[in-house]
């Protein structure tokens, strides 16, 4: 069976610090207003039974990705390891994939944008004109995962080949690995906890699992 990389996020541990959001922006140089990853702050219930939860969201790298099916250019593809990718050279920026994604995970920026109006040196150095007017989204830091094939390291275990957001999580809430390997870190974690996937009823078969209860793993 081929690999299928997935992410497990323990909602019991997430403290909403947005460090993963910042790590993603730093790793991927996304412009202001574009967040491939973000953490939603949810308050629910009525006094005195009020709850607060934090929900990190990004591309779910669905096994049945609606964005890929609607894409008229085949720019959106699915790799054998489950990652959903975008070929910026093929994309025409029609936004159909944005409409198809139930996770609000994709963005299109038509003009260069900088944090303080004028570009800083770092922004100039990392500016990629190929990303203008095309769809962009979380890649699960695919360059790092590709590096694992060269170095023999294991994504989710070795930080060099693990997505930046997972590495950055201060609470140990984010986990990454091959969900098709029953011995992997993520399979073991999911096997002992209660979890759900976002909007499963839509048939997208997402690769991000949210843990909400069960034994805590230290």
């Amino acid at each position: 069976m081929s690999k299928r990389y997935a992410m497990a996020i323990d909602l019991r541990r997430c403290v909403g610090c947005q460090t993963c959001t910042a790590a993603c922006k730093s790793a991927n140089a996304t412009p202001p207003g574009v967040q491939w990853r973000r953490v939603l702050d949810i308050e629910s219930g009525e006094f005195p039974d009020v709850r607060r939860a934090f929900l990190p969201v990004a591309c779910m790298h669905c096994a049945n990705p609606p964005c890929m099916h609607v894409c008229p250019t085949t720019a959106t593809k699915q790799r054998e390891d489950g990652l959903v990718t975008i070929d910026y050279d093929l994309c025409i920026g029609c936004s159909n994939c944005i409409m198809a994604c139930p996770y609000d995970a994709r963005s299109i920026e038509h003009r260069p944008r900088y944090a303080y109006g004028e570009p800083m040196v770092s922004e100039t150095a990392r500016f990629d004109p190929g990303r203008l007017s095309v769809a962009t989204k979380c890649t699960f830091c695919k360059e790092r995962i590709e590096l694992a094939a060269v170095t023999g390291q294991t994504p989710g275990i070795d930080p060099e080949v693990t997505p930046a957001c997972v590495n950055s999580c201060i609470a140990g809430a984010m986990h990454f690995g091959d969900v098709n390997d029953p011995q992997s870190n993520i399979s073991t974690l999911l096997g002992g906890t209660e979890h759900f996937r976002m909007h499963e009823e839509l048939g997208t078969d997402p690769s991000v699992y949210y843990i909400w209860d069960g034994p805590r793993h230290e």
Binding site: V57, H69, G93, A100, T204
Partner: protein
Amino acid sequence: MSESQQIGDRMLPRQQRNWDARAAANFICGGAGGGLLLATALASGRGEDLRPLVVVALALVGIGLFAVWLEIGRPWRALNVYLNAATSWMTREAMVAPLLFASGAAAVMFNLPAAFWVAGLLGLAYVYCQAHMLHANKGIPAWRLASCAGMIVATDLAEGAGLLCAGALVWPGLASFGLLLAGLLAVRLLAWWRYLASLRSTGVPLGTSKAFDAVGVRFVWLGHVVPAVLGVAAGLTGLSLLAVLAGVLAAATGGWFKYTLVCRAAFTQGFALPRTPSRGQGSAGRGVQPGWNSVRPQ
């Protein structure tokens, strides 16, 4: 609303901003044009020279495609749209378009009944592709229902018949198609009610409900009851003015519906927690789906 607030609010369904009036124009003009091609084929055996209506239909489809070309981010790569016929309805729409223009041009140049019919059937195919282009978008609850695709096809056919009836201004004999228009408006009304019923049964973002509530009563009366009565009267009396009024009302309200659907009622899915997590010493709690008019059963 500030940019940071917009990002923070994405827990809730939000109105999509990526497809604006230009994209809506493709559905409004392209759908009406496709419907008009089919309606013109139906009327083509009566002896009148209806080739100008084919020109109008092709112009409508062309305007719609030009509008969407203005919207895409990389217009000079537009031909890449042909690369995914296997699953993309946008690709299929783009593949039907040149065939539609070729057959329409043949109908105009050679005035052959067969060419009218080929163009008419391709117009129907174009309408079908557009309807399924919306239906395939799982991220927009108002679009992904099968009944939405049915509503789009129903309104496009009614708009086509409406524009044909409007042609009674030039060809008074077309007033008899008022009866066909009334029948298609009855079908569109049924499709509209079915669509609303399926929205209610599946649950829908609050913004979608508000957008349709704002137009619903006027859409029923101005878009169906009044033009259907005028259409029946035109069909029975042969008065072309009645047919023109009925046709214009049917076409205009169909376009109004599609603008509402694309630009006002199109809210994203938002996010939901089937269960709130157990935190600290506490236990897990009930689920939450903010911004919807119903919470999914747990």
